[in-house]
């Protein structure tokens, strides 16, 4: 069944900037959030998000409709992020916090009164940091699964690989994450084991 989105895609592929603008409105926040998992720098985040959409516009003619539009978008976004990471690696920069952000967290640690929010903040910071040390393919699959909540089928479509590859890569990624966490933060691991998300965990 043809949807409004299909019409917008067709119009945008024909060069209609207005229709493409509507697609940006529909998917912009989601892509922006995905890219925020790869960079914490606000300027680079805006730039990367825009770069994704510029690429999407140029490639719209190649969209085959054999997958959902958003998974195709994710594919372009992940490729853009991968390029960004390799550029960053060349510049010998990490995508985790800037020094200023780290200092802000340290200040918060020194001054915060409540233990629970502090632990949650610590979990977020450490998770970002450990993710930043993983090889790109493991980091990407963890972001897609744990932060973007993509199904295995969608991940296979975004990463253009088989379900078996998704399963084994996700397994290895979690293993590598756990090992890195234990190696880098051995003191925090017991505390993390007791962590419970406030709103409960979905889906189980």
């Amino acid at each position: 069944m043809r949807t409004d989105e299909d019409d917008l895609i067709a119009q945008a592929a024909a060069g209609d900037h207005g229709a493409f603008g509507t697609l940006v409105d529909l998917h912009g926040a989601r892509i922006h959030r995905l890219m925020s998992r790869f960079t914490r720098d606000p300027g680079e985040l805006e730039d990367l998000t825009q770069e994704v959409f510029v690429k999407v516009f140029r490639k719209l003619g190649t969209f085959q409709r054999d997958s959902a539009f958003y998974t195709w978008l994710y594919r372009i976004a992940v490729n853009t992020a991968t390029d960004y990471l390799s550029r960053q690696r060349r510049r010998r920069l990490h995508l985790v916090e800037t020094d200023a952000e780290l200092e802000a967290v340290r200040t918060h640690e020194r001054t915060a009164g409540s233990a629970t929010p502090l632990l949650e903040e610590e979990v977020r910071r450490v998770t970002r940091e450990v993710l930043g040390t993983l090889p790109e393919k493991y980091r990407t699959i963890l972001i897609l699964r744990e932060f973007e909540d993509l199904s295995y089928t969608d991940m296979a479509s975004v990463l253009q690989c088989s379900m078996g590859t998704v399963e084994s890569r996700l397994f290895r990624a979690r293993q590598r994450f756990k090992e890195a966490l234990e190696r880098q933060y051995p003191d925090l691991v017991p505390q993390f084991a007791a962590v419970k998300p406030r709103g409960g965990m979905s889906p189980r």
């Binding site: 409105d25 922006h32 805006e46 998000t49 399963e167 084994s168 996700l170 979905s202």
Partner: protein, 153 residues
Amino acid sequence: MSDPKQVDSVTIARYVDAEMSSAEQVAFEARLRAEPALAEALAEASALRAVFAVARTEEPPVPCGVMRARVLARLQRGAGTEVASSMDGRVERVARWCVLAAAAVFVAALLFVTGVLRLPDSGQLQADSGAELIRALDAQIQAAENVRRPLGR
């Protein structure tokens, strides 16, 4: 994937990620009741999942309100830039040739002015040079003849 531990870990992951069919789920839960080690491994996987569940509660940065306008501006600028860059390329090539030609003329003029490069000013010079050359060749032939004679050839 032949390692039984890895097979189980992948199965646990599929359970934790809600990727199992109802039948698979029932079978897995029956195994969980019978195998404490599997239940322990599940608890470990769930703990890691809980860490990520906390991490994902972080509020993502808010996208700027003018993303659409910026993307469209970038698209238009991109199209303009492509035209401009191809124009720039042509202008640059012509300019480069002009500079090279000017440099060649300047060097030639400099050589001429300093006397390194001299144009023949008369036919007499060429004739004189030719006569000198013939005289030099005659001298060399004569010298060779002088060498052959004492050897008795």
